[in-house]
């Protein structure tokens, strides 16, 4: 089962993990891996705003989830990515993968978080406590990490 959500609302990672455990067929599933990305408290950061491209975002995430499911024979995948404004400590992104064994579950989870950073149309803007804002620049390191899955 593939579940992809793009939403402004907060999500609960524990609830999502429990839902994936229910969705993954017992006979074929041996493990679940997950990653939850948080808004890091970098010094003067008051809030993080995520803009996205409605329509393309969902398509890009569904395409990545399908690719991961086929490449690692996953039994269930969940990808949730928030947009809008959030504060340090809040969860932005959640990826969970279920598979017969640990290696495909862990690898596909890493694949999804690496590749969504370069393939999904989101843009981060940092809001400082003094009200100034700046768009976050893309990192070469993220491109390198995504490239290792080619």
């Amino acid at each position: 089962m593939i579940r992809v959500l793009v939403q402004p609302e907060p999500f609960d990672a524990a609830t999502e993990l429990a839902a994936l455990l229910t969705a993954a067929p017992d006979a074929d599933s041996g493990g679940i891996a997950s990653f939850t990305g948080l808004v890091r408290n970098d010094g003067a950061l008051a809030a993080l705003e995520l803009q996205h491209y409605p329509g393309m975002t969902e398509r890009a995430l569904v395409a990545l989830a399908n690719e991961a499911a086929a490449r690692w024979s996953l039994t269930a995948v969940t990808v949730i990515h928030r947009h809008g404004r959030m504060v340090p400590g809040e969860a932005i992104v959640f990826v969970a993968t279920a598979s017969a064994h640990r290696t495909p579950a862990l690898e596909s989870c890493a694949f999804l978080i690496d590749r969504l950073k370069t393939d999904a149309p989101f843009w981060k803007r940092e809001w400082s406590a003094d009200g100034t804002t700046s768009w976050v620049d893309a990192k070469d390191a993220d491109t390198d990490k995504a490239g290792r899955w080619d």
């Binding site: 990305g37 995520l50 803009q51 491209y53 393309m56 989101f122 843009w123 768009w135 893309a138």
Partner: protein, 85 residues
């Protein structure tokens, strides 16, 4: 050829609008041609589109390259490198 443009992040801010629909002349065949043609529409367009190495593109919601050919009625998005996750 009619193109529906969408702008995101600082490209949107510099141009000052979320998007626009334009009818391009016959010599505008690729995305690269399109950004060149758009850049003289206003000072904001010029500022947003000046450095092509900092721009990324999508045609009909699929990532595209500067040499990708345009098609009539396409939705073309112009934005900085993505920073989600």
């Amino acid at each position: 050829m009619e193109i529906r443009l969408l702008y995101f992040a600082w490209v949107r801010e510099r141009i000052g609008i979320d998007g626009e629909t334009v009818v391009v002349p016959a010599h505008v065949a690729t995305i690269d041609d399109l950004t060149g043609w758009l850049s003289v529409r206003s000072a904001g367009h010029a500022a947003a589109l000046a450095d092509s190495t900092r721009l990324r593109f999508a045609i009909d919601q699929q990532l595209a390259q500067p040499d990708t050919m345009l098609v009539d009625g396409a939705e073309v998005a112009i934005f900085p490198p993505v920073t989600g996750g």
